[in-house]
């Protein structure tokens, strides 16, 4: 199938997605990376809507673009990393990374060549609505749902423990900083 036969919404959204993802990876400024990643999430949400997964699109926006990316931005601002702090490195690293990622792409696409083209059957639009998804979540996927609650508690406890200020050590570090500045 030629690329011009593809529907226009899919082409435009894919183009935006890949462009923003490339900017996330190549931009020098971490804040620009975060903003480009938010744009990537928006276009992926649009893909979800095309795929009859409406509730998934909204959740993707709220959880990823709303919560996780704000967390990233907070950490960036907190650590004052908005300026470029990354050291300049040789182009060899970039070439090696590009070759590795490109090889993986070639291997995956080559392995898909023999799979043949399968046209999507298409879901009914009701399948992605919250009514149906909630019913499935609370019946078939009840145990994983409860387990994900435990995972969240563990992650929260871990984050609080890791982020808690170790007071003696902190005082020592601050003293060192003062001495270095003096």
């Amino acid at each position: 199938m030629h690329i011009t036969n593809l529907p226009l919404p899919f082409l435009i959204l894919s183009f935006i997605t890949i462009l923003c993802a490339l900017y996330v990876v190549t931009s020098k400024n971490p804040v620009h990376s975060v903003l480009a990643l938010i744009l990537t999430f928006f276009s992926i949400s649009a893909h979800y809507i095309l795929l009859n997964a409406q509730f998934l699109a909204i959740v993707n926006l709220m959880v990823y673009a709303g919560a996780i990316m704000v967390l990233f931005l907070f950490v960036l601002m907190l650590l004052n990393l908005s300026k470029d702090t990354e050291p300049v490195k040789s182009n060899l690293w970039g070439v090696a990374a590009a070759i590795s990622a490109g090889l993986l792409l070639v291997v995956i696409t080559a392995s898909l060549q023999k799979s043949g083209i399968a046209v999507m059957k298409g879901n009914s639009p009701e399948i992605g609505l919250v009514k149906n998804l909630g019913r499935v979540l609370m019946t078939e996927y009840l145990v994983p749902f409860e387990l994900s609650g435990i995972l969240f508690i563990a992650a929260m406890v871990g984050a609080v423990l890791l982020g808690k200020r170790d007071s003696e050590k902190q005082d020592l570090l601050q003293q060192n900083d003062v001495q270095e500045n003096a």
Binding site: L22, I68, L79, L81, I108, G122, A155
Partner: protein
């Protein structure tokens, strides 16, 4: 909903997801700023999410299993981001750097 799937098949979504995943992999290999590394991991997870949603559509009638898996991947991604950023803040507090190439003291 738009009926665009007359001329669209699953392989296009597979290729799009592969490209996104490989871009994320390239970022993980190329960048050294730990925050950008975490963001590239989020990008890879999102590529997989998109593939799950596409396969849910591909399976057709009344099959929401693919979409359910996307929820669980989101849970794991949120937990991973929280713990990863907490570790990152602690590393920054101790070393004043977020460059992962300096974190090689286990190597010697």
């Amino acid at each position: 909903m738009l009926n665009i799937f007359q001329s669209l098949d699953i392989s296009h979504y597979i290729y799009l997801s592969c490209v996104l995943f490989c871009i994320g992999l390239f970022g993980v290999l190329f960048r050294r700023n730990a925050i950008v590394l975490l963001m590239c991991i989020e990008l890879m997870l999102n590529a997989v999410n998109l593939l799950f949603a596409a396969f849910s559509e591909y399976m057709g009638d009344k099959d929401a299993n693919g979409q359910m898996f996307v929820f669980f991947i989101m849970v794991v991604a949120a937990a991973e981001a929280a713990v990863g950023l907490a570790i990152l803040v602690m590393v920054y507090r101790n070393t004043r750097k977020t460059d992962v190439s300096f974190l090689d003291s286990l190597k010697d």
